[in-house]
């Protein structure tokens, strides 16, 4: 499942990131790596982008890009 499958307020653990190479690199540099707990905070009023929280800070990311962040199956 991807991070987009979480509802606001739900948490998960990151498994892997794929997609656009630059974006993957950027997210990894921010500490979005395997095993990191991540929480979806809320969706934008128009449903996109979303705010996710990991390592103690909030990041806005478009759904299309967030789809590429895979979570560990519970």
């Amino acid at each position: 499942m991807s991070i987009c499958d979480l509802k606001p307020g739900q948490c998960g653990y990151i498994q892997s990131i794929s997609g656009n190479k630059k974006l993957v690199k950027r997210l990894m540099a921010l500490g979005c790596i395997e095993g990191t707990p991540v929480k979806v905070k809320l969706y934008a009023p128009l449903g996109d982008p979303i705010i996710i929280n990991f390592r103690g800070f909030d990041l806005a990311i478009r759904k299309k890009d967030a789809m590429n962040i895979q979570l560990r199956e519970a």
């Binding site: 974006l23 990894m28 500490g31 009023p45 982008p49 990041l59 806005a60 478009r62 890009d65």
Partner: protein, 589 residues
């Protein structure tokens, strides 16, 4: 001289520290990406400090990173001042690890210690310093705490001796790097409190709420305009007009009562009428700027970018382009410059074409003048509507360009949402004062010069001094005026005001001040109907901002783009103004 490079994540207070260290007054906002190019400053000619754009890492291919990396490699850097957010060390230290590869001494400045303390975070500085092989200084830049120590250390040139190859922990595997950081932090950080829901989170739930987000966004902007017009700016501006400008006029009239009429006209109609008519709007310009600064410092801007992202995407722009648009409300020139950081050529060009539609500060005096005359009591609403119209037109034009000239691709976009904070009074005051100073300088130079030139051109023709109706200016204006006839302002005076406004938009006001003289308000009220006045403002909003913008457009994108942007804006302004005039004439009869 020692060269120090100031580096850190976006929005951790680099520029605040820079300003404190060098005594300069660079622009600061509480949102990522305010610094787009490097800036230099000095501590007493002994230390050169270079403020670099905020970055998260050095190898993720963004333009900001290129600037920073290049400087670190080629800039003869003696010491790296790496400023980090102490309340979010985990992520901030990633960049620190990467910086070690340059084998330069690193001063790790732990900023926002006040925030970290409030969160119950305790840090063992000595241990952190030893573990990472850096010098650690805790500070709180926005409050000025600890800044002196940084200054002293830099001046002394006494840094931790760095070069130890084994000291370098950065690998190509992010996982390894973060494992190392976590190991270090586990030993140096004690967290006393466990975070519960913060106030910021509660604010976000309201401010970003599905139904409330957009109404609140508009409400916040509207409050800023109320502040500018109804509460603070306009009353001050009226007072300035009534007591100071009128006083000066009375004094001058008294002094000049024995001079020739033409001479007193030059001084009173030309200089005072021109410069004074613009100068009275100083409080309004400053009030609006204060409001926008407040919003920027509070942390709301990144939220605005967040809720606008979907719309930006609709017009084919990356979310990062939001930054130039916000800067554009101040001045179009730096806004176009800041488009440099956008990654794709298409984004840069489209942004540069749309940014001039954001109403810049220089247009404000024109709105204020007409709104007070034609829409008394509704100044805020009228001005607000013009700003919104600019945005709406930009969206429409964006859609048009997206589907015709610029087709395709979308850059991924991520933006960090900073925590809310109460804006620092010092920063607000400095920014606002700086703005006021710029406005005064403009009044003393270009507006003064244009007023005098306009006075001469409107009182002379080839036969010498003449009646205004047969002056150079009247002839020149008469040639252009028919173009504006369909919108209800086909007088030579309006035409000339718009033409001279290309030097700077405030000049639209000063030119009218000169050609209509001191009785500007009453004469204008006869020259325009309210609908024509509003259409005129629409034209002022949308037509080519000024020659500085044209010059920057040429510099950044070449002659073709420059010509295109000038032409399309002139045409656009005419069309929209025409529609506004005719539609409202039909409706309002």
């Amino acid at each position: 001289m020692i060269t120090a490079a100031l580096l850190g994540n976006p929005n951790v207070g680099k520029t605040t520290l820079f300003n404190y260290l060098t005594g300069s007054n660079q622009y600061i906002g509480n949102w990522p990406g305010v610094t787009v190019e490097k800036k230099e400053g000095y501590i007493e000619n002994r230390v050169k400090i270079v403020d670099l754009p905020g970055i998260y890492a050095l190898d993720t291919f963004s333009n900001e990173e290129k600037i920073s990396k290049e400087f670190l490699e080629k800039g003869n850097v003696d010491v790296i001042v790496n400023i980090v957010d102490a309340s979010s060390l985990n992520r901030n230290l990633y960049l620190t690890l990467q910086l070690k590869q340059f084998n330069k001494p690193i001063v790790l400045v732990l900023n926002m210690m006040d925030v970290a303390n409030a969160k119950g975070i305790k840090i063992n500085y000595e241990k952190l310093a030893t573990k990472l092989g850096v010098t650690v200084i805790p500070i709180s830049a926005s409050k000025g705490i600890g800044v002196e120590e940084v200054k002293k250390l830099l001046e002394s040139g006494n840094f931790f001796s760095p070069v130890n190859e084994n000291d370098y922990h950065y690998t190509d595997d992010e996982k390894e790097n973060y494992r190392f950081i976590e190991e270090v932090l586990a030993e140096v950080i004690v967290k006393e409190k466990i975070e519960s829901t913060t106030i910021g989170e509660k604010i976000d739930l309201i401010v970003l709420n599905k139904y409330l987000a957009y109404p609140l966004f508009l409400l916040i902007l509207y409050i800023i305009f109320m502040f500018t017009f109804s509460w603070v700016g306009q009353p001050l501006s009226d007072a300035l007009d009534e007591y100071i400008i009128s006083g000066i006029v009375a004094l001058l009239e008294n002094l000049l009562q024995n001079s020739s009429p033409w001479f007193s006209s030059l001084i009173i109609d030309g200089i005072v009428g021109g410069v004074g008519s613009v100068l009275v709007f100083l409080p309004i310009v400053m009030a609006l700027f204060l409001g926008i600064s407040f919003l920027e410092d509070s942390g709301y801007m990144a939220r605005a970018a967040f809720i606008m992202d979907k719309i930006m995407r609709k017009i084919g722009l990356s979310g990062k382009a939001f930054i130039p648009f916000i800067i554009g409300f101040g001045c179009t020139v730096p806004a176009i410059m800041s488009a440099r950081t956008l990654e794709s050529e298409k984004d840069r060009k489209l942004t540069a074409l749309l940014v001039p539609l954001m109403s810049c500060n220089a247009r404000l005096p024109v709105y204020a003048l007409f709104a007070t005359i034609f829409f008394p009591g509704n100044e805020s609403a009228i001005t607000f509507s013009l700003y919104l119209l600019g945005v709406a037109i930009a969206i429409l034009i964006g859609l048009l360009f997206k589907n015709t000239i610029f087709k395709k691709d979308e850059e991924p976009f991520i933006i960090e949402l900073p925590e809310y904070k109460v804006p620092e009074l010092r920063n607000l005051m400095l920014n606002t004062w700086e703005k006021g100073k710029g406005f005064l300088k403009k009044a003393g130079t270009i507006i003064f010069a244009m007023s005098v030139i306009v006075w001469f051109l409107s009182n002379f023709n080839f036969n010498g001094m003449t009646d205004m109706e047969s002056s150079f200016l009247a002839h020149l204006g008469g040639v252009i005026a028919p173009v504006f006839k369909p919108m209800g302002y086909g007088t030579w005076q309006s035409a000339v005001a718009l033409l001279t406004g290309l030097m700077a938009k405030e000049v639209v006001v000063s030119t009218m001040g000169v050609v209509y003289g001191l009785d500007l308000h009453n004469i204008l009220a006869q020259q325009f109907t309210p609908i024509a006045a509003y259409s005129f403002l629409v034209y002022v909003l949308l037509y080519t901002p000024c020659i500085s913008v044209i010059a920057v457009m040429r510099k950044e994108f070449g002659n073709k783009m420059m010509a295109f942007s000038v032409f399309y804006q002139l045409l656009l302004a005419w069309i929209v103004s025409f529609i506004v005039f005719n539609v409202s004439s039909l409706i309002l009869g």
